[in-house]
């Protein structure tokens, strides 16, 4: 089952500058061979369900290992059985109706 996820990880107890923790997720996503794209309030990831959620778990583990005692993450998770739709497809599908 393919999934598209919007991942927003918020480490708590480490002050207000979260970008070093977010940046530490990049090699995890890359090594998992996932397609992903950063935006201003999260990261869109697409891939097989198990691979995507294994990577998200590794992000939590890595950020805890960096010293964050608590993490709260918001995810949007999309699956569909009717057809495949990539990140780019979703954006252009809206733009064609503007």
């Amino acid at each position: 089952m393919k999934v598209m996820v919007d991942l927003c990880i918020i480490p708590l107890g480490v002050g207000v500058s979260l970008s070093p923790y977010i940046a530490a997720c990049k090699p995890i996503l890359d090594q998992a061979g996932l397609n992903w794209e950063l935006h201003a309030y999260g990261t869109i990831i697409e891939g097989e369900w198990d691979a995507v959620f294994k990577a998200i778990k590794a992000c939590h583990e890595t950020i805890h290992a960096m010293g964050a005692p608590r993490i709260t993450t918001t995810l949007k998770v999309g699956t569909r059985t009717d057809r495949e739709q990539s990140m780019t497809d979703k954006v252009t599908s809206v733009q064609h109706k503007w």
Copy 2:
């Protein structure tokens, strides 16, 4: 790694009455041996990371099998290494400050 999740599954393409699909997740959570609690805009689930996300995947698969061609889910996912905190702890922790 223990996790607390707030799960809100939205099947698309099946009209506006979503409760039969949400109800179909109950046996999945029960058979996984997870603690969970329904609220008006989702379900709080607590347990080990792998067991919780395996159950969420099974919810998506079940709801697709029931005929929903598309699902969009919103999750909040909390982990912490400083201490254990149950659903009840979190609620009473706020209530004690009222």
Copy 3:
């Protein structure tokens, strides 16, 4: 327009204990005359759109005034024109299908 909101406010830069900040929202919701219910990963609020979002803005302002330099909030926002549905209705609607 009536709205049901699931509000989860996360103050950043104030350590890992967030409950004093969450508790400070209670009088705001009460004074606004809104129905609300705390759960383990947020607060469900129901009322008129403008009243609900005015209260949420006041929560952000209050938590900043308490010393939090940064806040990230996750909201689920439901509106419907087909019928009225309360917090209790939504829960029992699922429970009747178990």
Copy 4:
């Protein structure tokens, strides 16, 4: 108070093709003079709190008027008092740590 929002509007009861409804929000955001940027799982909007939430309310009203009997929206809402930070700042702040 400035706010950055990640807006993901899901109309229910209108089938699986949501892009016409999402596209109808573009003129609302433009006429409100807000900065915004579409991504694959939502739209990032930045501006003054009242202007942003007035626009989001107008999106719900417009989508209901287009025939959607029910809408569920997921929002991430960020405010900060320590400094201003644009959509672009947030992305480059992470990219500089890669």
